[in-house]
Amino acid sequence: MSNEGSIAGSLFVHFAMLSMMAIGGGVITLAPDMHRFVVDANHWITDENFIAAFTIAQVSPGPNFLFATLVGLQAAGWLGAIATTVAIIVPPAALTVVTLRASVRSGGSALGRRIKSALAPVSVGMILATAWSLARVADNSWGGAVLTAVTVVVLMTRKLNPLWLIAGGALVGMAGWV
């Protein structure tokens, strides 16, 4: 078997399991574990490749989770892209359909409330970890760290389309300040 084939297989299995862990905060909360798996544990791609995949998906239209497709593309070519995309999309979609068809009413809204309250801090922890791990990878210079900090302050204090900030980041980067 080709090397790309076996990498794509491992990606599929790992990402399919991860897809079912994306609760509350969405698929980007899976970024730390995807990074751990493809960069730290297996060395299929570099830090730079990983954060580039994330950034390209952010500036593209459509669901943000497509960064997983790019991670797969870089790790194992087209097979990898297909493997990660299918792995992220299909298991949760199947579960959604099954839930709709079965009309599961698992014990009424007390249980629903309890699951929701219990998952809230878990998903906040996941998104905090995501923020931490992306900033750690993206900010390997003082310029980068300053740019991240400025972005945070701007977004916390005013309503602005993030795409303008990303465009600004591209200019600052090209000027050689990052």
């Binding site: 991860l18 862990m21 509350g24 751990r36 954060i51 390209i56 998906a57 952010q58 500036v59 593209s60 239209p61 459509g62 669901p63 497509l66 497709t69 790019l70 593309l73 999309i89 949760p92 979609a93 579960l95 959604t96 359909v97 709709l100 009309s103 009413r105 698992s106 809204s109 629903g112 409330r113 309890r114 929701k116 809230a120 801090p121 878990v122 906040v124 922890g125 905090l128 970890a129 923020a131 931490w132 791990s133 992306l134 900033a135 993206a138 900010d139 210079s141 980068g144 760290a145 991240t148 900090a149 972005t151 977004l155 795409l163 900030l165 990303i166 600004g168 980041g169 980067g173 090209m174």
Partner: protein
């Protein structure tokens, strides 16, 4: 009917389909929504589904969104599956999902292939470094906002903190950390929410 419907119950709106859309219409609707969704599809989903096409009422939208959020996986895809299913059954679910994904997938892979070819050029590398620092900032801001909305409870601080430490600082596998913390959180919220 006044019984408050909360996840994981399937909302009533998931079943009722007043003006059914055909699978092809669902595909087009979600394609439109997705390709306009720069930096987040959700606002566009609201605009198209509720305001323009009146496929859902405001209330139905928020009910179905809450349901889509509690299910694992990409929220926006779950929403597409639910709306598709409600209008045209299994085929509708599949075409709505396909519409949500197909066009963005082509765009993003095109950019990805371009990155593979040109990613090593200095201007591209530098621009991406700047854009990545901003993209990281977007996630940091989103994380802070989510943390701010969490009810001020000790157990929330503890579980969010442990999750952050395990996955972010220690870089332990997510499945293991969730596998331990989620059941503990579920147990800890047992008495508190019971009516």
């Amino acid at each position: 009917m006044p019984r408050q419907v909360l996840p994981p119950d399937v909302p009533a709106a998931a079943a009722a389909a007043p003006a059914a859309l055909l699978p092809s219409q669902l595909f087009m609707l979600f394609t439109q929504t997705a390709i306009l969704g720069f930096g987040g599809v959700l606002p566009w989903a609201y605009l198209f589904l509720v305001e323009r096409r009146k496929v859902l009422s405001k209330l139905e939208f928020s009910e179905l969104l809450a349901f889509a959020q509690i299910l694992p996986g990409p929220t926006i895809c779950n929403l597409a599956v639910i709306v598709g299913h409600r209008n045209a059954g299994l085929v509708g679910a599949m075409t709505a999902l396909a519409g949500m994904i197909a066009a963005p997938l082509v765009i993003v892979t095109t950019l990805g292939v371009a990155y593979r070819h040109f990613g090593d050029l200095a201007p591209v590398k530098h621009a991406l470094a700047g854009m990545s620092a901003v993209a990281a900032g977007l996630v940091v801001a989103m994380a802070l906002k989510m943390a701010r909305e969490l009810p001020r409870l000790w157990k929330n601080v503890i579980f969010a903190g442990l999750m952050f430490a395990g996955v972010g600082l220690m870089r332990w596998p997510l499945l293991a950390v969730i596998g331990v913390l989620a059941p503990l959180a579920f147990i800890s919220f047992g008495k508190w929410t019971r009516r």
